[in-house]
Amino acid sequence: MTQPLSQRTDTQGPVFPWLPLLVVACALCLCATLYEIFGVAPVELQMGIVQKIFYFHVPSAYAMYLGFTVSAVASAVFLATRNERWDAIAIAGAEVGSLFCLVVLVTGPLWARKAWGTFWTWDPRLTTTLLAGMVFFAYLVLRSFGSVGEVEKRFAAGLAVFGLLDLPIIHFSVQRWRGTHPTVITGNGGGLHPDMRPALFISFFLFTLLAALLIWQRARIERLRQRYEALEIEAAERGLLEET
């Protein structure tokens, strides 16, 4: 016999006391980063203001891989344990990773047009990012069909694991493919000017916080949704939904 719903304590949903702190830290860090990028870091001689994209682009790529890795690892744990908590983290990682992937794929060509004179080149890093993005966009498509059942969740989890396994193979094969052509443009040319380093460094820190915050929030929403679903099923079992 289960308790009456009014006396239940597990309907509260998870509580995260640290979340407001993380939001404040993120906001402060964002202000500091913007000041550092536009106020302190020198304007690059050849590319001018366009070079500032770099401070958002590179940390976004890092945040993207952070999100995808979180998603794939959580997916693997979900497949092993079948604990819904890990599924929530997996979808959060995939969504946040895809978001940053979009940022990378938009800012990259804008920067490349100015730096390399072309929007796109089949560089290993670019190709790996694009294909990783395709894998996780497929993940999101899979998870966004009307009724996401157990099968879709597992399919998506399998896709995330295969996606992560795939990344080194993609990178290696594209490297070999373009490596045979000596004209390939790689990386961002020379090293970074020392005055530009603090801006990049603090930007990396910001994007770590931001990715953590977004993944955390998204996972929390997913947990709430799962809890709501469970309660709805329970209510239906008790015949509470039929009265209108």
Binding site: A138, V141, L142, E152, F155, G163, I169
Partner: protein
């Protein structure tokens, strides 16, 4: 019952159905032919560029036709809930996966034989002398492709969107195998030395090993309730 003899049973079941209906091989071969014809219509300029385009046509046709074959082969298991019966059978679960994958490999091998000839004719290629190496490349590429595809198809067949999901999820994952296959074939046709091609074979083999292993281990947790 050992893993391999159980896999042989699953394979034999698929082969028997195929021998009686011919459905998968005929449909897949026809579709692969269509892809080859349409792409050669689109890309053929002259004999010089044909040698560069033909490998892409060949591998794209294999990939598209392969998705069709796997999706059809697994949707048979959905009819009358045959898949549940397979899962209930007293055999290792991995045997179902291996059997279905071997079935796909058999079907695709037949389709590829026809396809290579068609592409050779359409693009005016002389494949004598490199036929063995090309067969090896195709075999290596198809193994990794079928291993990944059968795992995804097994899951996809039970989702709401089915075939659409299979193509969308599978193609980005097999992209590196496709790239290796295409570039290696292009170098083969262009007469590159064997050690150049060998590097691609190694990447393809790594892809095969990684995804066959992952498929064998993940099939049970992914597909079984």
């Amino acid at each position: 019952m050992t893993l391999l003899s159980a896999a042989w049973l699953v394979l034999r079941k698929d082969l028997q159905i195929e021998l009686r209906t011919g459905e998968v091989v005929v449909t897949t071969a026809l579709f692969a032919t269509l892809v080859a014809v349409l792409t050669s219509l689109s890309f053929y300029v002259d004999d010089q560029s044909a040698r560069l385009v033909a490998p892409g046509v060949l591998w794209i046709a294999v990939a598209f036709a392969g998705v069709l074959a796997m999706s059809r082969s697994w949707s048979r298991e959905r009819e009358n809930d045959a898949f549940r019966a397979l899962l209930l059978a007293p055999i290792p679960r991995a045997a179902i996966y291996i059997g279905k994958t071997l079935g796909t490999l058999t079907f695709l091998a037949i389709v590829e034989c026809a396809l290579v000839l068609e592409v050779a004719v359409l693009f005016n290629l002389d494949l004598r002398g490199i036929a063995g190496a090309l067969a090896g490349l195709l075999a290596l590429g198809t193994v990794g492709f079928a291993a990944t595809g059968n795992l995804f198809a097994a899951m996809g067949v039970r989702t709401g969107a089915r075939d659409l999901v299979l193509a969308v999820a599978l193609f980005p994952v097999i992209a590196p195998a496709l790239l290796c296959g295409v570039v290696a074939t292009r170098e083969l046709i262009g007469g590159a030395p064997m050690h150049e091609i060998w590097a691609w074979v190694r990447i393809l083999a790594a892809f095969d090993v990684a995804f066959v292993t992952a498929g064998m281990f993940l099939f049970e947790p992914l597909v079984c309730d």
